[in-house]
């Protein structure tokens, strides 16, 4: 087995030796395998040994297993010859081995000389046992290793040489390449320079902002630039080659041009910058500034002529315009009515003045030119001059400086001066323009005086008006309060009168008594109408009158009027005629006020017509998509009115004459109210009349066109509420709250006549108490009472659960709309204004008693 064992070790080492091409890797790998096989912990290789007397110098090429020796790898060591030189040997000389600069002491060493200059040392701190002859085993491998080391070295040297050659070749190639590129670049640059130069010259000729041409000695064109070709009416320069000036658009000047050309060629002297005309192909004449030079070849022979020119037509025009402008400005300067003067800044001398200056100041031109304003003493206030100088210094100009000046004769004038610094041919001057404002200033001062007086006047008047306005407003408040108070105070007794009349009539009357009662009720009704008319008029004038917007059924309005006045018409045996245009459906407006106005007209007609016909006409004047203008006319065959009176009829409190009132009654307010209502409704009112023949009263209104109202089936006439209450609501309990004893009594009596049970309260406190103590089906509540008014009483009653829904109906002499609003806000269910009409009261009672609670 020893043989196989040795062979296996050699085989392994031989494979290792043959497996590396780099010297460093070869030595490391060989050392690793040697240590593996022998169990020596440290190995090293010394290369390139040079023997001395007792020492050998060599490079420590590889180390494994000792980190101190490893740190010296690559260095040259000097070691004893006895250690490195000699045959393969297992050394056990601690003293010799101690000379090795390692980490630890070694006691044993296997020396393996590879060749005369290379030695491997395997080192151990103690004896290494092996049954194999270690000094023999490795010798064949060492010879191979020597060759391998040489091969690696040769290989590395060859590699280095090849790398060097490669680098040299690469460097040479780079140099040659660069040189070649440089030459090629230079050639390319040279050719490019010529081409570029040519291109540049062509570009210069083509793009020069002037025309260039050249002709041969026969004065035929050899070439030109595109600008010249365009002037000649050609699209390309090549089109003019070989032609002469006689075939050009400027043939009229051909002889002129050619004469110049010949002079230049023959004399050899250039002709530069001269102006000449040229006819254009479209018949215009333009101006050229031309230069011509002899055209010479490389030998200096004149072979033609080269010309350039530029079109100066525009410049010529400008020069001409400038001359005209200068003439105009000079005229303006000289002939202006304002004083214009020019002074040099450096010394203040007058350089120029216009005629206006001389006229205003009274000086002659010779007095002024070459002198200063100080010398002439033209400034009335030296401070004004200083102010002007400062303004010019600070801003370079002065605008509208007002100053006083002194004329030659010593009189003074006011001037409004503007000045600026200008440059005249390099000299800084002050240009001043001064307007004589002496008269204007006087007028302005007078105006200012008037304005001040006017302002004072306005101020005084405003103060007076404010006082008047305050007084009016105070009066207005007083008037409103008066009206409300008057209304309340009149309605209260009226209520008693109408109520009592109702009760008296219910008790049965003789014919004479009935007639007397009729008159009493008529008087009462008249009083109420006056009251209502005054209130309406007052509201309209105060701008507080609010029109309703509801469906207007004009047919129904007319029917109502006929129904109301039907008895009177029949009694007087008058004929009532109704005429109407085809009116648009769905009109919207205030039907109550329309009826009121119309009723007034028809009522008057009935009143003032003894016999004949009353015609009520409704006419559609015009309409748009949203509005329709309707005119109502009431024509009668009555007494008529004289024209003078007709014009006064629509003023308040006017009738035809005072006797009319006495004869026919009326307040004299109806027509006034009608006209105002018509105007509120976008129309007007008026009348025409022929005395003794009759009158026509009209008014117009603009009604809104709304949707067509749905067809409403009219309920059949109800049975009289008074009868229903007397039959169906006997014993119902009513609380009447009223502070005025007569009214309280009358109301109680009316209610009791229907067999209703009535309790009364004299003020709000009592009402609240009674409402808590008893259950009432309905409460009639006055508004204005001592201690607690009806509003507060209602609020408190509503707070109680058992009376939260009890109908409470206001019955009050406070008849204004805002009163009604306050009642509803306090919690009342409905509203009646005094005087109470018994029928209205019955309607109201039935309405609320019949409701389920």
């Amino acid at each position: 087995m020893n043989r196989e064992h040795i062979l296996s070790v050699l085989y392994d080492l031989t494979l290792t030796v043959g497996s590396e091409v780099r010297l460093d890797a070869l030595l490391t790998r060989v050392l690793q395998r040697l240590l593996y096989h022998t169990s020596f912990p440290v190995g090293l290789v010394v290369l390139d040994q040079v023997a001395g007397a007792n020492q050998v110098r060599g490079q420590l090429a590889a180390v494994i297993g000792d980190h101190v020796l490893q740190d010296q790898r690559g260095r040259t060591l000097e070691l004893p010859s006895a250690l490195l030189l000699g045959k393969v040997e297992l050394l056990a000389d601690s003293e010799l081995l101690a000379l090795l600069p390692g980490n630890r002491p070694f006691s044993h060493c296997l020396r393996l000389p590879v060749d005369g200059t290379t030695t491997i040392l395997l080192l151990a701190p103690g004896p290494v046992t092996s049954d194999l002859p270690l000094t023999e085993v490795f010798q064949p491998v060492l010879r191979n290793l020597a060759k391998a080391i040489q091969l690696c070295r040769d290989s590395e040297q060859l590699t280095r040489a090849l790398e060097s050659d490669r680098d040299d070749a690469r460097a040479s190639l780079v140099v040659a390449l660069k040189q070649s590129e440089a030459e090629r670049d230079a050639l390319r640059l040279s050719e490019a320079a010529v081409a570029e130069s040519k291109a540049l010259l062509q570009t210069v000729i083509d793009t020069a902002p002037m025309r260039v041409f050249w002709k041969d000695r026969e004065l035929k064109y050899l070439g030109c630039n595109p600008a010249f070709a365009r002037d000649a009416g050609k699209s390309r320069p090549s089109e003019i080659i070989g032609r002469d000036d006689y075939v050009m658009g400027w043939s009229a000047q051909a002889d002129l041009y050619r004469a110049d050309d010949r002079r230049v060629m023959e004399s050899g002297v250039s002709k530069l910058s001269y102006d000449e005309p040229q006819s254009t192909p479209d018949g215009q004449t333009i101006w050229l500034r031309t230069s011509k030079v002899p055209l010479r070849n490389a030998r200096g022979d004149t072979i033609g002529v080269l010309g350039i020119y530029e079109d100066i037509t525009e410049r010529k025009h400008l020069e001409h315009a400038l001359e005209s402008s200068e003439r105009r400005y000079r005229a303006a300067f000289q002939n202006g009515i304002d004083a214009i003067n020019i002074n040099r800044i450096t010394d203040g001398l007058f350089v120029d003045v216009n005629q206006g200056f001389l006229d205003i100041t009274g000086y002659n031109r010779d007095d002024v030119i070459g002198r200063t304003s100080l010398e002439l003493n033209v400034w009335a206030e030296p401070a004004d001059r200083k102010h002007l100088v400062k303004l010019l210094q600070d801003t370079g100009e002065c605008r509208n400086l007002e100053a006083r000046f002194v004329r030659k004769d010593g009189t003074k004038l006011w001037g409004l001066m503007s000045a600026a610094i200008i440059d005249i041919e390099g000299v800084s001057c002050i240009l001043s323009v001064t307007r004589n404002v002496t008269e204007m200033k006087a007028a302005r001062e007078e105006l200012e005086l008037h304005r001040t007086q006017l302002e004072q006047l306005v101020h005084d008047r405003t103060a007076e008006l404010q006082v008047a306005k305050d007084a009016a407003e105070t009066a207005n408040v007083a008037k409103s309060a008066f009206l409300a108070n008057m209304s309340h105070e009149i309605r209260t007794p009226l209520n008693a009168i109408s109520g009592m009349a109702h009760l008296v009539r219910a008790g049965g009357l003789t014919a004479s008594q009935s007639d007397q009662l009729d008159k009493l009720e008529t008087a009462s009704q008249h009083l109420l109408e006056i009251l209502n008319s005054i209130l309406d008029l007052s509201k309209i004038e105060a701008g507080k009158f609010v029109l309703e917007e509801a469906d207007v059924r004009l047919d129904r309005v007319v029917t109502n009027i006929v129904a109301i006045l039907g008895d009177q018409i029949r009694e007087k045996h008058l004929t009532m005629q109704i005429e109407s245009d085809d009116l648009p459906p769905g009109l919207m407006g205030d039907p109550t006020r329309l009826q009121q106005a119309l009723l007034n007209y028809v009522g008057n007609a009935v009143k003032f017509t003894r016999a004949g016909t009353i015609t009520l006409r409704t006419r559609l004047l015009h309409q748009s998509d949203t509005q329709a203008m309707i005119r109502f006319e009431v024509e009668d065959t009555g007494i008529g009115i004289d024209p003078a009176t007709v014009t006064r009829l629509f003023a308040a409190f006017e009738q035809a004459d005072q006797s009319t009132t006495r004869q026919y009654g009326g307040t004299g307010l109806g027509l006034a109210i009608t006209r105002k209502l018509a105007k509120l409704m976008g129309g007007d009112a008026g009348a025409s009349s022929v005395e003794g023949k009759g009158s026509t009263f009209w008014f117009s209104v603009s009604l809104k066109k709304g949707k067509v109202p749905p067809l409403v089936v009219e309920p059949s006439p109800v049975t009289d509420p008074e009868v229903i209450i007397a039959n169906d609501y006997v014993g119902c309990r009513i609380l009447v709250v009223e502070d005025e004893p007569v009214n309280r009594e009358i109301t109680t009596m009316i209610l009791e006549s229907l067999d209703l049970v009535v309790d009364t309260a004299v003020d709000g406190y009592e009402a609240v108490r009674r409402a808590q103590e008893s259950t009432y089906d309905l409460i009639l509540m006055d508004m204005q009472m001592p201690k607690m008014d009806g509003l507060e009483a209602t609020r408190q009653i509503r707070l109680q659960a058992q009376t939260a829904t009890t109908p409470i109906i206001a019955m009050t002499a406070n008849a204004f709309a805002e009163d009604k609003e306050r009642c509803f806000a306090a919690g009342m269910s409905d509203f009646m204004s005094k005087p109470i009409k018994p029928n209205l009261l019955f309607d109201m009672l039935l309405k609320w008693l019949s409701r389920p609670r």
């Binding site: 296996s8 070790v9 085989y11 593996y36 169990s39 912990p41 297993g65 000792d66 085993v137």
Partner: protein, 385 residues
């Protein structure tokens, strides 16, 4: 009597915590080296949590089984107390990317080594590899080239006895595979390694290898040759089915010039007849076919004890960290435990802790070139404190 710094414990949080508390009271800067059997690997997180809770540095590995003075066991864990937590380097994915594995380890260790300075006793670089790292011998060559004699070299391989990939190296937060756990232990104790395999008479050439794979022997498929030799030498019919059962008894040996042999146990067989060993086989190496010795044949245990005492003095009443090759146990069967009992008795140690290993690192000579072995016992006197 030496301090009891090796404890076998059930992996129960309370028990571990009380042990840690006990040790921490007297060793506030301590660290723990833990050995877990494969069967208890799921309980590692409990151990890690317990150590984290007490801020005790933990390192260790998972092995096929644990070694005890009486034999082997697959439950609980060995906790070994280190007075000072040693510098530890847990490096995963050793063979992926640059630099190579040896340089990764050297780069990790070098700064700490420089910091330690040149003390009177150099530290031991104790390497716990994942047993499935295929090029450990090459890594050792590289490490020795770089670190040279700055450290002593020792170590073992962890992992599963099934040779299936399993993360097996850990610290108090991580568990990694395909890597190494490198510990710089105080060099106060010398690690001794022994296998007792004799050099055989017959040799053959591994004509084609790749790392730890032997592809062909004598220019024929490796398994065919292996099969024929076992048949002719020992009369055993080796089949694909009984391969692993017999292979542990007939490992390969790589012969060295110093008459020693490095064992390579074949552990797997591929369809094309290649054999996988634990550890590399150099290409074209002449391999010997070994016959594994019987228990204590060649005085393995007594030589081991002798080596230990020669390097470390008497072990009487001391503690011993012992790794026992898993392949060796498979070969010896119950006799493996007998070897452990004998080792325990001969050394006279008070306690012995360790694990079954999947390859071992060390030198059979005290200062010898570090090698990767199979089938050995690797023993280190354990002082801990």
């Amino acid at each position: 009597m030496a301090t009891q710094t090796m404890r076998h414990l059930s992996i129960e949080p309370g028990l571990i915590d009380s042990t840690l508390a006990d040790w921490q009271a007297s060793h506030p800067t301590m660290g723990i080296l833990a050995l877990l059997p494969e069967a208890e690997k799921d309980k590692l997180s409990l151990l890690q949590a317990a150590c984290r809770a007490r801020s005790v540095p933990l390192v260790g590995g998972i092995f096929p089984a644990l070694v005890t003075p009486q034999g082997f066991r697959t439950d609980g864990a060995w906790l070994l107390l280190l007075d000072q937590a040693p510098p530890a380097f847990l490096i995963p994915d050793l063979n992926s990317g640059d630099p190579d594995a040896a340089e990764k380890i050297a780069n990790a260790i070098r700064p700490t080594l420089s910091g330690l300075g040149a003390g009177p006793v150099k530290p031991t670089l104790y390497l716990l590899f994942d047993g499935l790292v295929p090029n450990i011998a090459t890594i050792l060559d590289g490490l020795y080239l770089q670190l040279a004699d700055r450290v002593n070299y020792a170590g073992v391989n962890a992992g599963s006895e099934t040779f299936q990939p399993m993360p097996c190296l850990f610290d108090s937060e991580h568990l990694v595979g395909d890597g190494v756990l490198a510990l710089l232990l105080p060099g106060t104790a010398t690690t001794v390694l022994e296998h007792g395999y004799a050099t055989p008479q017959r040799a053959m050439t591994a004509t084609s290898t790749a790392g730890n794979q032997v592809i062909s022997i004598d220019w024929r498929p490796a398994f065919d040759v292996y099969q024929e030799i076992i048949k002719s030498e020992y009369g055993i019919e080796l089949t694909r089915e009984n391969f692993y059962q017999y292979a542990v008894h007939f490992p390969f040996g790589i012969l060295r010039a110093n008459q020693e042999v490095v064992v390579r146990i074949p552990v797997a067989l591929t369809d094309d007849g290649s054999l996988y060993c634990v550890g590399e086989v150099p290409e074209n190496a002449i391999l010997a076919l070994l016959r594994a010795p019987t228990a204590n044949a060649g005085q393995c245990i007594s030589q081991l004890c002798q080596g230990l005492e020669s390097a470390n003095g008497s072990l009487n009443d001391r503690q011993l960290l012992t790794f026992y090759c898993a392949g060796r146990r498979m070969h010896l069967g119950d006799d493996a435990a007998t070897e452990l009992v004998a080792l325990n008795a001969l050394t006279g140690v008070a306690n012995m802790a360790g694990a079954l290993s999947l390859g071992e690192i060390g030198s059979t000579q005290a200062w010898g070139y570090p090698l990767f072995h199979n089938a050995t016992l690797v023993c280190t006197p354990w002082q801990g404190t």
